[in-house]
């Protein structure tokens, strides 16, 4: 009569660092899922794709709410940014418009629009303490924003292309008949 003896299975020797790596992987995975912002993702998706004719950079996406992406995580952080057009009812952007910003501390900062009509401010240059007053000017024409900006540095969050009960329409310089020199190619 024979008997079969079975040796108890030896425990596989697993290095301790392996389980630590697994734990870290799971933790990072969960943390990564927890850090997504569906509202921001939705807002970015709503902006649509890049125009194939315009490379990523200072000239892209005129008229869109810049800070939706430019938050320091999705793209380079900006504190204030927007697009300025010649007239309320026209899509022609204007360059060289001076944008005057004055915050609650009385700190003033001036920047200017580029050929897409875009302007943007980096946090190292100016981070406003709200409320912030805004005025724009070029060639003797000037517009002052009636109400202050209280929390949102993206002009286009409130200034969408079409006026409505929720939007004053585009940010524009000229409200009288006038012609500005065209300084862009």
């Amino acid at each position: 009569m024979s008997t079969l003896t079975q040796k108890p299975a030896s425990r596989r020797s697993v290095p301790r660092w392996s389980s630590a790596v697994q734990f870290a992987g799971v933790f990072l995975g969960i943390a990564g899922m927890g850090c997504t912002n569906p509202l921001q993702e939705g807002a970015i998706a709503d902006l649509g794709p890049e125009s194939p004719a315009i490379p990523l950079g200072p000239l892209h996406r005129p008229g869109q709410p810049c800070l939706v992406c430019h938050d320091g995580a999705e793209a380079t952080e900006l504190t204030v940014a927007g697009t300025i057009y010649e007239r309320a009812d026209a899509t022609k952007p204007i360059p060289d418009v001076l944008v005057h910003l004055v915050d609650a501390r009385g700190t003033a900062y001036v920047t200017a629009t580029n050929c897409a009509g875009n302007f943007f401010v980096r946090p190292g240059d100016f981070t406003p303490e709200y409320p912030m007053r805004v005025a724009i000017e070029r060639d003797g024409f000037r517009q002052e924003m009636e109400s202050p900006v209280n929390v949102d540095g993206s002009c286009a969050s409130c200034h969408t292309n079409d006026p409505s009960p929720r939007s004053a329409g585009r940010v524009y310089l000229l409200s009288v008949a006038a012609t500005l020199e065209d300084r862009c190619p």
């Binding site: 009636e146 900006v149 929720r166």
Partner: protein, 168 residues
């Protein structure tokens, strides 16, 4: 033995439960609110401080405020055009009084005493987490305007100064 004990306690338990669940007093069905008539003065003081399109001039807010420079009520009106309409004052007033109606009623019933019981005041003063930070300072014209309104003694002069001050 245990069964006997339960049987003897049973008649006592039911009335005790009934008492514990009964309301202490009948709730009143009348909630006090501050004046609608003087609200436009208060709304004027709040307009640039609170009702801009990037703050409470957004329909997503639970305190939704309308005004000529912010969100408009009528489909044909746009921000920055014309005056705040009576319907807009009415809508903003309803937002304000609808925020914490029971607490508001208590504050009104006590002549505006301890208005900081209201989130409206705590947030406006920056004493509670508020994305817009402190928009009024305890004792300034806008604060006096709001507090006096809650006390049914609207300080029209303070409201007017507060509305003018924010236009600068």
């Amino acid at each position: 033995m245990r069964r006997m004990l339960l049987r003897s306690l049973f008649p006592l338990v039911l009335p005790a439960l009934a008492v514990a669940c009964a309301p202490e007093a009948e709730p009143t069905d009348v909630l006090l609110v501050p004046s609608r008539i003087t609200y436009p003065s208060v709304g004027g003081a709040l307009e640039y401080r609170c009702a801009t399109l990037d703050c409470h001039g957004k329909p997503e807010r639970n305190l939704r405020l309308y005004g000529s420079s912010g969100m408009r009520l009528a489909a044909e009106d746009v921000p920055g055009d014309g005056e705040t309409t009576d319907a807009e004052h009415d809508a903003s007033y309803r937002s304000v009084i609808g925020l914490e109606p029971e607490v508001l009623s208590l504050v009104c019933a006590e002549g505006g005493n301890e208005p900081e019981r209201l989130s409206l005041i705590r947030k406006a003063r920056g004493e509670e987490a508020h994305k817009g930070g402190a928009r009024i300072v305890r004792g300034d014209d806008a604060d006096r305007c709001l507090i006096s309104w809650l006390a049914a003694a609207t300080d029209e002069a303070a409201c007017a100064r507060a509305a003018e001050d924010q236009s600068e």
